[in-house]
Amino acid sequence: MNSELQEVGLLKGLAAGDRKVIEGIYKDHFNMIQSLIVNNNGSADDAQDIFQEAMVVLYEKVRTGSFELNCQLKTYLYSVSKRLWLKRLQQNSRLWSQEIDPETTIQVDEEIATHEKRDAEFELMSQAIQRLGEPCKSLLEAYYLKKMNMQDIALQFGYTNSDNAKNQKYKCLMRLKKLFFSEYKNGNTHG
């Protein structure tokens, strides 16, 4: 019971993007995932990729406010990592050595599916922003991602006043929305 409560605490920290918490989870579980990947035809780099992707899956889950894993954090990360790695192996038609698999796993197919859909959406956004080019890209990133205010942006980008910066931001935003929605409505979220 106590450890369960502890894990909920961890997950809440993770949802808030607390660096200490992320470090803790990383320290406790990375080595296990690394040996899973390495024992199954993967490299250390693959292990890093897969573990971080599993962390993203977990992060997305707790971001939506659900802190119930129905299993230990360890089992969850192991199951997700294993599923992700199996998928990647299938794509590259490499082999899975079944015999080295001591951990118990849970069903995570649904979670992986949601994760893939989200990932595709983020990829879409990322591409749309890339295609904007400069200075639109930096301008919108400064306002919407770094949450800078218009005065600071005007100063940094060299606009004479914040109204001009605002005007430019508006034009960029319209372009971005057009790019994003044209792809999004085409159902092009698998790329």
Binding site: Y26, F30, Q34, A44, Q48
Partner: protein, 367 residues
């Protein structure tokens, strides 16, 4: 313009930044105008996507940082796999390849040793090319002498406009008060030396030359020079590790050029232990360029490349800079040079690292 104001209003409405009165009015507008209503819905969705995208990006880069930190502190078994896991991994990966490789190795060894037998002895130093630019081979001696006399007469303290600089290389600041490091071969037989980058063009003097280690220390003597407050990079005393990623900034052209690669051997040309071999794209003019590791520490000075093999070059290891500084210290007339050991570039991404150090790397022009 109206659209702009509308979208601005929508954004403030979504973010809850509207005054209560304005909010009531806006909600009224939403009810009566389907287009505005649609815009609010669409924009809410879009902003949500943007926000989540931002968080996702931040989280991913945080994970990378955490990984690097923990690996550096040895808290996770990164990269260097251990014991059984490593053996299994290597065996799985290479079991087919290893048999073929072994047989190829035997054949190759035989062929190479016989070739070496036939070709040797070759002249050992001939394939080594120093990378200082030769602008022109023609030397106008009388003109040079005239300039020299002029210089002595006028005691120049800034760069004269009409000196024809004939060779060149790269140098970088090692002491904020205006000391630079470059290769000794860059400033060999120099009469006048100037350095130049976006910050300005300055006249420099050679303080010390160590031809053996191929290191020269220059001092900016220009009256226009203002000392730096500090240096962004530090100098590493350690020998770099094999396969360590490295990068460099230098002046093979009149423009600063970035290049990256990795450390490919711990010794230099013909087993020279003063230097090391690096896999990097180096050209004439790159001599004297700083070689930095991922953390932004200088680990060497680029000093040459092999003539008949493109792509790899050699660098003097930075620990010898410390030796040279010690030697200089013993010559009592020059002040102590202080080398920074801590790099403030650690953890930054590469474009930031390069941006921060650009002002400290100079083109060295020699006459």
């Amino acid at each position: 313009m109206d659209d702009l104001r509308l979208l601005d209003a929508v954004e403030r409405y979504i973010k809850g930044e509207m005054h209560p009165d304005e909010r009531v009015q806006f909600e009224q507008l939403r009810k009566t105008n389907a287009e505005v209503d649609q815009l609010v819905v669409e924009h809410t969705f879009f902003l949500q996507q943007m926000n989540r995208f931002g968080e996702w990006k931040r989280f991913k880069s945080l994970l990378k940082e955490v990984h690097t930190d923990l690996a550096e502190q040895g808290q996770i078994n990164s990269a260097r796999l251990q014991g059984k896991a490593k053996v299994i991994y290597l065996w799985n990966r290479y079991k087919k390849v290893s048999a073929i490789a072994a047989s190829i190795a035997v054949v190759t060894t035989l062929v190479i040793s016989s070739l070496v037998w036939i070709i040797a002895p070759a002249s050992p130093r001939s394939q080594f090319e120093e990378l200082n630019k030769k602008f022109s081979q023609l030397e106008d001696k009388t003109r040079k002498q005239a300039k020299e006399i002029d210089r002595i007469k006028n005691k120049a303290t800034s760069v004269p406009q009409d000196i024809p600089f004939t060779t060149g290389g790269t140098g970088f600041i090692i002491d904020a008060r205006g000391y630079l490091i470059t290769n000794a071969h860059v400033v060999e037989d120099a009469k006048q030396i100037a350095i130049q980058n976006n910050r300005g063009e300055y006249l420099v003097d050679v303080v010390f030359q160590d031809v053996e280690r191929d290191i020269a220390i220059l001092k900016i003597v220009d009256e226009n020079f203002k000392p730096y407050s500090s240096l962004p990079y530090g100098l590493s005393k350690q020998t770099a590790k094999l396969a360590e990623p490295i990068f460099t900034l230098g002046y093979p052209r009149n423009e600063v050029v970035y290049s990256q690669g990795y450390l490919s051997a711990k010794t230099g040309y013909n087993g020279d232990t003063l230097s090391c071999q690096i896999e990097i794209n180096a050209n004439r003019g790159n001599s004297g360029s700083p070689i930095l590791n991922r953390k932004g520490e200088v680990i060497g000075i680029l000093n040459g490349r092999e003539t008949n093999a493109q792509g790899f070059a050699f660098a003097v290891q930075s620990k010898y800079i410390f030796d040279v500084i010690e030697t200089v210290k013993k010559q009592s007339d020059s002040p102590t040079i202080r080398i920074p050991s801590r790099s403030s570039l650690n953890g930054l991404d590469r474009t930031e690292q390069v941006r921060k150090m650009q002002d400290y790397v100079y083109m060295v022009k020699v006459n």
